[in-house]
C-alpha cells in the first residue's frame, strides 16, 4: 500500500507512453493489414512505408476544432471520451509484460482488468446519449445490448482459467503455464475468448455501435478532433489490453525460449491483435439479433459446458 | 392464339390486333380514360407488370396523351396504351391501387405534365422539389 506518489507518476507516464505508442503502431498496422488485404499498399508517403503517417494524422487532429453540437448534452458529451479512456490507465497497471516488467503485482489483477473493461461500454453509452443524435443513440443502445451478450461467456472463460491456475493474479496465471500453455488444454476456450474479446473491443464483425454502413459512425458520429482521437486511442488501448490478457491467459505471457520476456509478450500480443484485424478485414458484420443469438445460444452454452468439464477434470 | 394479352383484352371487350414487333411493341391501343382502370385490372389478373406511365404533350393539337406501357414476364408482349386527355384540364384515373409500382410513375407524370391522377394514393412531387408547381415536360415550358 505504500507506493510513493513519484512512483505512481512514473508508472502513469510509462503507461501513457505505452498507450500512445501502441495506438500509433496499431493504427499503422491496421492500415497496412487492410491495405495489403485489399491489394493496396496502405500509407506509403510519410516516413518509410508510411510509419509516421499516424503521427502526422495525430498532429492534424490536434490542430482541428473540437465541435460540440448545440443540441448536445454538453457535460455528458465532454465526459464520454474521458470515461472511455481513463479506465485504461488503471487496467494497464497489473498487466505483466515480462518477468519484471509489471507496474504493480496485484493479487486480484485479472478481476480488476475485467471490471474496468466494462467502463468502455459506459463511455459509449454516454457518447451516444450526450451527442443527441439518433445514429449515436442507436449506437449507444446497441453497445449496451452487446455487453449483456458477451460478458457472461467472457467471465466463464476467465473463471475456467482462474480455476486452472488457482489465482487471480495475472503473474501467477502466467507462471502456472510454465510447462504447457493453456491454449493446448483449452483450445475451444481460446476460440470463445477470442470471439468475446472481438465483441468487447467493438470490432468487426461485431462493430455494431459504430456500424459504418448503417449508423454512419454510430456513437462517435458527432465527435471531431481530440474527442474523436480519444475514442480512437481508447479503442486501440482496449485491444491492447484484451490481447495482452489473451496472451497471459492462454499463451503463457512473457514465457518463451531464446528471446527475452517482453519481446515474447509483444509478439504474442500483436499476433492476437493481428488476428482481430484479420477478422475485421474478412467478415461481414452480423446483425444485432444474430450477435445476441451467438452470445446467448452458442458462446454461453459452450463456455458453460467447457467450464463444467474442466471443473470435473480438475476435481478428479 | 391464346396469349395472356389476348385473354386480358378479350375480357374487357377490346379487339386484339397484334402489331409487327419491329418497333418493340406487340400491341398498341388507344382507349378512353374511363377504360384504363378495368384494363389495368384485367392485365394485372393475367400477370402483366407495369413498365411505365408517362405522357406526351401535343400543344398543336391541344391534347395530351397519357401513355402506359405494360409487359408480361413471359416476354415480348409489350402493350402500349394511349389515353387522350384535354390539355387544359388533364385528368386521368389512377391505377396505383392496382399496380402499386404505378404510384411513382404517376407522381412523376403528374409533376412533369400537370396531369392529375384521381385517386392516386400519394400526390406529392417525386423528382421535382416539394414546392414546384411548374411542369417541365410540357412543350411550352422554357424554364423557371
Amino acid at each position: 500500500m505504500s507506493i510513493s506518489p513519484v512512483t505512481i507518476v512514473c508508472y502513469l507516464l510509462g503507461i501513457s507512453a505505452v498507450v500512445g505508442l501502441n495506438a500509433v503502431i496499431l493504427v499503422w498496422l491496421e492500415r497496412k493489414v487492410a491495405g495489403h488485404m485489399h491489394f493496396r499498399y496502405g500509407p506509403m508517403e510519410v516516413g518509410p512505408h508510411g510509419l509516421l503517417q499516424t503521427l502526422a494524422d495525430g498532429i492534424k487532429l490536434l490542430g482541428k476544432q473540437f465541435l460540440v453540437p448545440d443540441a448536445a448534452d454538453r457535460p455528458l458529451f465532454l465526459l464520454a471520451p474521458v470515461v472511455s479512456l481513463v479506465p485504461i490507465f488503471v487496467a494497464m497497471v497489473p498487466l505483466p509484460l515480462g518477468e519484471t516488467l509489471q507496474a504493480w503485482e496485484l493479487n486480484i489483477g485479472l478481476l480488476l482488468v475485467v471490471a474496468l473493461g466494462l467502463l468502455n461500454t459506459l463511455g459509449i453509452l454516454l457518447a451516444g446519449w450526450g451527442s443527441n443524435n439518433k445514429y449515436a443513440l442507436l449506437g449507444g443502445s446497441r453497445a449496451v445490448a452487446q455487453i449483456l451478450a458477451y460478458k457472461i461467456p467472457l467471465l466463464l472463460c476467465i473463471l475456467t482459467i482462474i480455476m486452472m491456475a488457482g489465482s487471480y493474479s495475472l503473474r501467477q496465471i502466467a507462471l502456472a503455464q510454465k510447462d504447457g500453455w493453456y491454449i493446448l488444454y483449452q483450445p475451444l476456450l481460446f476460440i470463445i475468448y477470442i470471439v468475446t474479446i472481438t465483441l468487447e473491443t467493438n470490432r468487426s464483425p461485431f462493430d455494431f455501435s459504430e456500424a459504418e454502413s448503417e449508423l454512419v459512425a454510430g456513437f462517435h458520429i458527432e465527435y471531431s478532433a481530440m474527442g474523436f482521437s480519444l475514442f480512437f486511442l481508447a479503442e486501440y488501448s482496449y485491444m491492447f489490453i484484451a490481447a495482452a490478457l489473451a496472451s497471459i491467459l492462454f499463451l503463457g505471457g512473457w514465457q518463451g525460449p531464446f528471446l527475452p520476456g517482453p519481446v515474447w509478450s509483444l509478439l504474442k500480443l500483436y499476433g492476437i491483435i493481428f488476428l482481430l484485424m484479420w477478422f475485421r478485414w474478412t467478415f461481414p458484420r452480423l446483425r444485432i439479433d444474430q450477435m445476441l443469438h451467438l452470445g446467448w445460444k452458442i458462446l454461453l452454452p459452450l463456455a458453460l459446458v467447457n467450464f463444467l468439464v474442466t471443473a470435473g477434470v480438475l476435481a478428479l | 392464339m391464346n396469349s395472356p394479352l389476348a385473354t386480358a383484352l378479350a375480357r374487357i371487350g377490346i379487339d386484339y390486333r397484334p402489331r409487327v414487333p419491329a418497333v418493340g411493341l406487340r400491341c398498341s391501343l388507344h382507349i378512353l380514360p374511363e377504360q384504363i382502370r378495368s384494363l389495368a385490372r384485367s392485365l394485372a389478373g393475367e400477370g402483366f407488370f407495369i413498365e411505365t406511365v408517362t405522357a406526351e404533350d401535343m400543344p398543336e393539337q391541344n391534347r395530351m396523351d397519357g401513355i402506359y406501357l405494360f409487359n408480361h414476364y413471359e416476354g415480348d408482349m409489350r402493350l402500349l396504351v394511349r389515353v387522350t386527355v384535354s390539355r387544359s384540364r388533364p385528368h386521368l384515373p389512377s391505377i396505383g391501387r392496382i399496380f402499386p409500382g404505378a404510384v411513382w410513375h404517376e407522381r412523376e407524370t403528374a409533376e412533369m405534365f400537370g396531369i392529375t391522377f384521381d385517386g392516386c394514393p400519394d400526390s406529392r412531387n417525386l423528382l421535382l422539389p416539394e414546392e414546384a408547381t411548374f411542369h417541365p415536360l410540357r412543350k411550352d415550358f422554357t424554364g423557371v
Binding site: 488485404m37 485489399h38 493496396r40 484479420w278 478485414w281 467478415f283 | -
Partner: protein, 151 residues
C-alpha cells in the same frame, strides 16, 4: 438430431469463416495492384480521350481548322467557340479564335469525329489542375500555334 445440427452448424460455419480468412491472407501476401502515382504512372491507352487540342498543318504550321463550326454545332454541351478569318492570299478561312469551355465538356469526342479537316485530336493530359476556373472555362486551343495574322 437437433443437437447434432446445432454442432454441425457451428463446425461448418467456422470452416466457412476459415475459408474466407484464407482468401484474405492470400490477398495480403500477393502483390498490390495499385500504381503509386505520381511516382509511377499507369500506361495511357492510345485512344485516351483527354480534352481536345488543335493540330497544326504540317506545311504552314497554321491551325488546320478552317472555322467551319461543325464541332461547335455538334457539341452537346455547347462548349466550343470558334471564329475564323480569311487571309488575303488563301481560299479557306483560318481559325483565329478557338475556345474550349472545359468545365462543361463531357469528353464525348463527337467534335473530333465531326471535324472535316481532321484538325482536332485528344490530348493526353489527365492531371489538370489550376488556380482559377477561368483557366479551364476559356481554354485557348490556338495557343502555341502559328497564325497567318501575326505580324
Amino acid at each position: 438430431m437437433n443437437g447434432y445440427r446445432y454442432l454441425a452448424g457451428i463446425v461448418t460455419g467456422s470452416v466457412s469463416l476459415l475459408k474466407g480468412m484464407r482468401v484474405t491472407f492470400a490477398n495480403m501476401v500477393s502483390r498490390p495492384h495499385t500504381v503509386q502515382w505520381p511516382r509511377q504512372t499507369a500506361p495511357l491507352p492510345a485512344r485516351f480521350r483527354g480534352h481536345i487540342r488543335m493540330l497544326a498543318d504540317e506545311e504552314t504550321g497554321f491551325p488546320r481548322c478552317f472555322a467551319c463550326g461543325s464541332c461547335a454545332r455538334i457539341c452537346p454541351s455547347a462548349c466550343i467557340t470558334v471564329q475564323g478569318r480569311k487571309p488575303g492570299d488563301r481560299k479557306k478561312k483560318v481559325a483565329v479564335r478557338f475556345l474550349l469551355d472545359f468545365t462543361k465538356c463531357s469528353l464525348c469526342g463527337l467534335c473530333v469525329e465531326s471535324c472535316p479537316a481532321r484538325a482536332l485530336a485528344f490530348s493526353r493530359d489527365y492531371a489538370l489542375a489550376g488556380y482559377r476556373d477561368t483557366e479551364f472555362r476559356t481554354m485557348d486551343l490556338l495557343e502555341g500555334l502559328a497564325s497567318p495574322f501575326q505580324f
